[in-house]
Amino acid sequence: MSGLVKFLRRPIASTLVAVLVGLLIAILLVLVTGYDPLQTVATLVHGVFGSPKYITNVIIKATPILLTGVAVSFAFRTGLFNIGAEGQYILGTIVATIVGVSVNLPAVLQIPLVVLSGALGGALLGALIGFLKARLGIHEVITSIMTNWIMLYLCNFVVSSEAFHNPNSNTAYPINPSGYTMILPQWKVSDEGIEYLLQHPWLRDVLLKTDLNVGFLVAVFVAIVVGILLKRTKLGYQLRAVGLNKDAARFSGIAVERSVVLCMLISGGICGLAGALNITGINPHTLSTLVAQEGYGFNGLSVAFIAGCSTVGCIPSSLFFSALMYGGMTVQQVVGVPSEIINIMIGIIVFFTAIPSMAPWIADAIERRRSRENKNLAQETKGEEA
């Protein structure tokens, strides 16, 4: 029993409690709207784990939000609220597309070039936001929201521009195939590959029916590296000190303004990387006209907060998020439950993870109750003695 109390006092417990509450409320909603909750849950589970293809797709969809989640967590830990992840992500896709279409080098050069230029785009946009904050004192949330829209329209501008518009479509030209980052792209469509895959249906599912690409591995690597950067390096120490108390940091000789710009540069770069990897890794390998924000950046906020802003925690968090979104689609198709319920559920989870004192509060309540019981017990025994 006291093991439970101890567990509830750990930070991860708050997250798990929030997830549990979110699930319960979602199930309640399903009930209220007149669907079968058991069938819903079963379909959700099937939609996520039912086939290798599903699992792969969950991983693929987790990639960009893992990266934006890491970017948001990183910024948050250093005292900045990067709500501009969306815009930085879009700029990453734009730059990656422009470079990927305009340049055609062998894959060993093309892939790093396209991916890194996308990351650079996001980084510069982030740095601009950081600069405006450090130098002119403009709050990053304001500039971020504005740049999100500017980037959306910049994307549409590029899609419709003469140089990049793909005729008879609402997309730009796809990037040159030498920039693709799918796993074994040529082999899996070669005679030899098809022959092999026919005998291995599991692999066939994964490789042929999805855009399985290296993005997730890169994203996991980034999450770990950024975690180490924050915790173990001098730079991370400085950034955290600035985030937690910028007056004391300045007083002790840390260059606070530089730190703010650097932090946004890194955060933006990670978002740009997310955008670039989606262009190189996923069909149609190009930009499409956007009517609204796609939400890769905003979902990154949710991923980050569910993870308690731990960069490594973003790995399970992004997978969980992605599983809900992807499985939710199946639920809508099969059971008919509107996928909005999934969104509501995610909202509730994020809402409750924002109350970090919830689990400790439950622990307190348990302890209080127990001490009251003990007291009563003590009194009873006293009474008996007397």
Binding site: R232, T233, K234, R240, N245, F251, S252, G253, I254
Partner: protein, 508 residues
Amino acid sequence: MEPDSSYAVQMHGITKRFGNYTALSQVDLNVRKQSVHAILGENGAGKTTLMNILYGLYQADEGTIYLNGTPHSITGPNEAISNGIGMVHQHFMLVENFTVTENIMLGDEVCGPAGTLDMRMARKQVLDLVEQYGFEVDPDARIEDISVGMQQRVEILKALFRGAQTLILDEPTAVLTPQEIDKLLQIMDDLVASGKTIIIITHKLKEILRSADECTIIRRGEYMGTVDVSQSSEEDLAAKMVGRNVNLKVEKTPATPGEVVLDVNGLVVRDDRGIEQVCGLDLKVRAGEIVGIAGIDGNGQEELVNAIVSMTKAEAGTVVVGEEIQNTSPRNAIAHGVSTIPSDRHRWGLVLPMMVSENSVLEQHDKSSFGKGIMLDYNKMHEYTSMLIKEFDIRPSGCEDERIAGLSGGNQQKVIIAREVTQAPKLLIAFQPTRGLDVGAIEFVHKTLISERDRGAAILLVSYELDEVMDVSDTIAVIYHGKIVGTFEQGTVGEEELGLYMAGGGAK
């Protein structure tokens, strides 16, 4: 002691545990009606906890509370308030951008018949209170625009407005200037004369002797007894509080000053509103001497210190430590051998959510001794911090990897002092180095300043506590309106005369 109706408050056998930690164990408190009762104890002794129990913020695990001789269980602040208990917390709880009147009626709003706020009526009621007790408070001023002393009076008014008969003041003097302290003690006398009872928490002995009738002493959560203040002395109280004899006198040998280390010439500094706060100030501090700046808060001390370490811009003039260092960067000042014990340790000195070891290397983390290349070596940091903890007796020992926020104020200050002194500075600036510390810790800080002086460092002590400046400094410089208006050798000047200079009345 039996419950008795001549006591406003009695707390008997109070025990309070936080988890496994016992913050209070079997503590008694008996407060006579219409008296000032002091609660004395070192930081972390449990004074605030005891009062939070009386105010209903915490529930005691054991013990009984009697109000006017009858037992009460106080389950929340509302219950305390309706029983005539008011509390002014250590950290004020005011809404910065509300007016005084709005703050006072917050939570107990004055309403018209339709349930809308009746500001005219509220303002009148506040004015009546202000007049009745002779407070100098403008009911229409915004909290953010008034001084700390005034804000405190607003807190007191707020409690009176709710009908408080017994007023708890938690460390009310910690944030006040000597003049404001005088005013507060006067207000306390007036309140008692008009029938109120006051419980004042403090660890300043002088104030207890000046204001309190009785004093209850708590040491590490244990009840040490209650004394009649008129029968007691500072030494007596100090010994009871810390459990050993404390040397309240600062002992040191005469200074042997060497060459000039800090040379400030014609310094002009503006604050962030553009008002000139330091107006052509000249100051020299030599190696091996302590120069103390005496003055009332707000006469340019903060701007002076900040300009020396390049936290603020110097409009004109020079700051020379080896070479001119004004308008460079805090980093450059540190590189020139300037170390600072800042006035507000939570704001300028520490990163509270970080570990003790991380705070110990705040200025030095990028030195090669704490890591190779871009990596930080936590083992080395840990080792270094263990050394500081041992050498400076920082408690609890073994706190290297704990958050520094969990340490008591005195130990947080020790971490700062340890970290600054260990860098063997050429110039050590100590700005309010004993603010909020108890006698034991104050003794330690003063000893350290003197041993640093004897090592050959130049020490600039800036303090609003006149006693401290007079006791510790070899040379006393009085600051008034951003200028040094008088310089004296220690022992050649009395408190009266210094007070005169501090108020701008000294001969030029």
